[in-house]
Structure formats: structure tokens, C-alpha cells
Amino acid sequence: MLPALIAIVRREMLLALRRRSDAMTSLFFFVVVVSLFPLGIGPEPDVLRRIGPGVLWVAALLSTLLGLHRLFADDYADGTLEQLALSPTPFSWLVSGKILAHWTVTGLPLVLLAPLLGLQFDLDGRALGLLAFSLLLGTPLLSLIGAIGAALTLGLRGGGALLALLVLPLYVPTLIFGTGAVAAQAAGLDYSSHLALLGAMLALASFLSPLATTSAVRIALE
């Protein structure tokens, strides 16, 4: 089973490398959205330090959403998805591989870039590290939950806006615990509970989300 997973992750990465602009667009979107906030709210360091983690998290949420519909759309259009569904390897295993690749292409760059952007919000070193770590736990969760929405809206008209409506409410817990960890640290409180809950949700979603995504894709393929 592992070779199949590696093969599909490699395939997705290769596709992403060949079409670099897709991943770059959502990364660039992330940077632009984050930079808009100091312009809109004002450059006072105190305010920026308070809103920084939230702004970065919301921007991460939105930029994940941006490329989400492409997770299955191309494979659905050219029939690859159908072939994957017919393969002897469990379909949810292959779907997990696709989600993993999606996170590596869109989520991981956000995690790596976040500390740099956090500097613009005058966050100190510990807050930056914690922010990056909370994003490291949270962005895979965003990809996992988003995959369900992407599968449900497969081939529908007005897919993009609908996808946002379906997925954003489900993103709320991730957002709350992700920003909660950084806020708790800033207030001098214990933040490990937030990270533990984020990790628990990640564990739960890594099991449940591929199953839900698979059944949603099968419904679309019927």
C-alpha cells in the first residue's frame, strides 16, 4: 500500500511543479492579504501585535480555500479520478495521498512563510515559533476538511463560492484553537491545551476526512 501512496504523492508533486503558478498564486495571495491589514487598520505596533496571529490564520484559511477546488477538478475532468476509484488499492488511501500532496504544496509554504510575515506584525520570537507550530498542526487540518468540500462540489456550477460556504464554518474550530494558542502565550497562560486539541482534531480528521471525501467523490462519479 505504501508504494501506491508514494506514487500518488509523487505524481501530485510533479503536477504541481509543472504548474508552479497555481501554488504560487495562493502563496502570493496569502502575502498580499496579510499585508493589507496593517494598511487598513493602521501601523500602531500594539494593535498589530494583538491582531497579528488572527490575521495570519484567517489569511491562511482563505488562501487554502483558493486552490481547493483544483484538488479533484482536473482529475475528475480527464477521468483519472475514475481510474483511481477502480484501482485495487483502497480509494480512501489514494485520496489521503492527494490530500497529503495538497498540503505539501499549499499548506507547508504558508507555515514556512508565516514567521517572516509575523515579523511585520511585531511578534516576538516565541510567538513566531508558536504561530508556525500551530499552523503546522492546523494547515493539514484545513486541507483534510477542505477536501470533503472539494469532493462534494465536484463538477457543480458556482463551485468556488459554494465551496467557501460549505467549508468555512467547519474551519472555525481550527481557527479558534490555532489563534488561541498564540493568544494564550501572549497572555502568559498555558497554551499546550490548545495545541493538544489541535493535534487531537488532526488525528481525528486524518482518519475520518479521507472516508468522507471518498464517499463524496464516489457520489460525484456515479
Binding site: L152, V172, A216, E222
Partner: protein, 249 residues
């Protein structure tokens, strides 16, 4: 043939359920009217004014039942969604479809009555409190299910896709509820407590209970009425629909 199981499962067929629903609507509508009248009477005339809130608290008789129903209907909708996915029955998908608008209505009603109540009592229409926020997200979940359903033309696919979404949402509801609660308590002290004074008069409680039963009966009646129209819409090509009295007449 007429085992206890088949006696009930035959109502999974739209053709047998349609007339049954017609009879049930009448029963539940009357129950809703009676309980609503009793509840309003208790609420307006029997229940004493609140010590702190005076007469203004009486919106509770609409607010609390609406909030309860908003959550309960989601669970019922998720239940029918699970049946729809598990047994692939047509009627359960239609039931889930019929429940969503009523659930969304009660959620919106809970939010509106809540803010109407909040304005005079706390001096604000809205606070980012745990309950309010999770109720708002519940409304978004309902709207998401309805939007997804209306975006899909094929009714069977619409049933199954929105069933998956409803079940994903039901997994999320406890998570959302607790996350919002913890998020709120960590950020600010509990400035406003939703807990009522422990000395809630018995008549107030009776009024809330009566209104809740009324809301429940109303929800059943409306969902059944809606499911009947959905049946007619989807089964319009069927022989039995063409022979219905209301169609031939």
C-alpha cells in the same frame, strides 16, 4: 408478510407515506395550535414578571424553544441523512431535505429573538459569546446544506451529497460548541452569564415547555407538508401520483 418490521418499513415508500403524511399533518397542526395557544396564555398571563427583567423577559417563551429546535432538527436531519446513505432509501433523503429549511428558520429565529432580548437587557444586539457564535455557525451549516442541495440538479446525488455534508456537520457541532466556549472563556471573563436565576418560577418553566412542544409539533407538521410536495415533485411521473384525488380532481 405483515411482520412487525414490514409494517413499518413499507412507509419508506413514497407511495404509502404520502397519504400517511397527509393524515399526520392534520394531527400535528392541531397539536401545534393547541400547545401554542396554551403556551402563549401561560407565557403572557400566568407567568409572573421577572424580578430583574420585568416584562421584557417574556421573549424567552419564543427564544428558548427556537434554540432547542434549531439544534434538535439538525440532529434529526443528520439521522435521516445517515439512513439515506446507509440504506439508500429515497424517502429519508427527502425527509432530510424537508427538515433543513425549518431548522434554518428556527436558528434564525433564535438569533433574532436573542438579539431583540439582548438589546434592552445587556444593551447590545450581539456579543461574541460562546452560545451566540455557535448558533451562528449552526445557521451557516444549515445554509451550506441547503445551498449544496440546490446546486445539484440530480435529486439522488443532491440527497447523498448533502447527507455527507450534514453528517460532517454533526461531527463538528460538539467541536464547534466546545471550541467556541473555551475560546471565549480564555479571552475574557464571563461578563454575561446565560444561566437563569435558579429560582425560575414553575409557571415560567411550564410556559417554555408548552411552547417547545408547540414548536416541535409545528416543525413536524411543516416538514411533513414539505416532504409531500417534494414527493409530488420527484414522483410526478409515477402511476400512483396520477391517480391521486388531488391530481385527478
Amino acid at each position: 408478510m405483515n411482520t412487525p418490521t414490514t409494517r413499518w418499513t413499507r412507509y419508506a415508500s413514497p407511495a404509502t407515506f404520502y397519504p400517511l403524511a397527509g393524515r399526520l399533518i392534520r394531527v400535528f397542526s392541531w397539536l401545534a395550535v393547541i400547545f401554542c395557544a396554551a403556551g402563549l396564555w401561560v407565557g403572557f398571563f400566568v407567568a409572573p414578571p421577572d424580578v430583574q427583567q420585568g416584562e421584557g423577559y417574556r421573549i424567552i417563551f419564543l427564544h428558548v424553544p427556537a434554540s432547542w429546535m434549531s439544534m434538535f432538527i439538525y440532529l434529526v436531519m443528520a439521522f435521516w441523512s445517515a439512513i439515506c446513505l446507509g440504506f439508500n432509501t429515497r424517502l429519508s433523503g427527502m425527509m432530510a431535505a424537508a427538515l433543513a429549511p425549518t431548522g434554518a428558520l428556527f436558528t434564525a429565529l433564535a438569533l433574532i429573538t436573542g438579539s431583540l432580548w439582548g438589546e434592552p437587557m445587556w444593551g447590545t444586539w450581539w456579543v461574541w459569546d460562546a452560545r451566540l457564535t455557535s448558533e451562528l455557525i449552526l445557521l451557516f451549516l444549515y445554509l451550506g446544506v441547503m445551498a449544496l442541495r440546490s446546486a445539484i440538479d440530480d435529486p439522488r446525488r443532491a440527497d447523498r451529497a448533502s447527507s455527507v455534508l450534514a453528517l460532517v456537520g454533526v461531527v463538528n457541532i460538539p467541536i464547534i460548541y466546545f471550541s467556541v466556549q473555551w475560546w471565549n472563556t480564555l479571552h475574557q471573563g464571563a461578563s454575561i452569564s446565560f444561566r437563569h436565576a435558579p429560582s425560575m418560577a414553575m409557571t415560567m418553566f411550564a410556559g417554555i415547555l408548552l411552547m417547545s412542544v408547540a414548536a416541535w409539533m409545528y416543525a413536524i407538521a411543516v416538514a411533513l407538508a414539505r416532504v409531500r410536495t417534494i414527493i409530488l415533485e420527484r414522483e410526478g411521473h409515477a402511476e400512483w401520483v396520477a391517480q391521486l384525488e388531488e391530481i385527478t380532481a
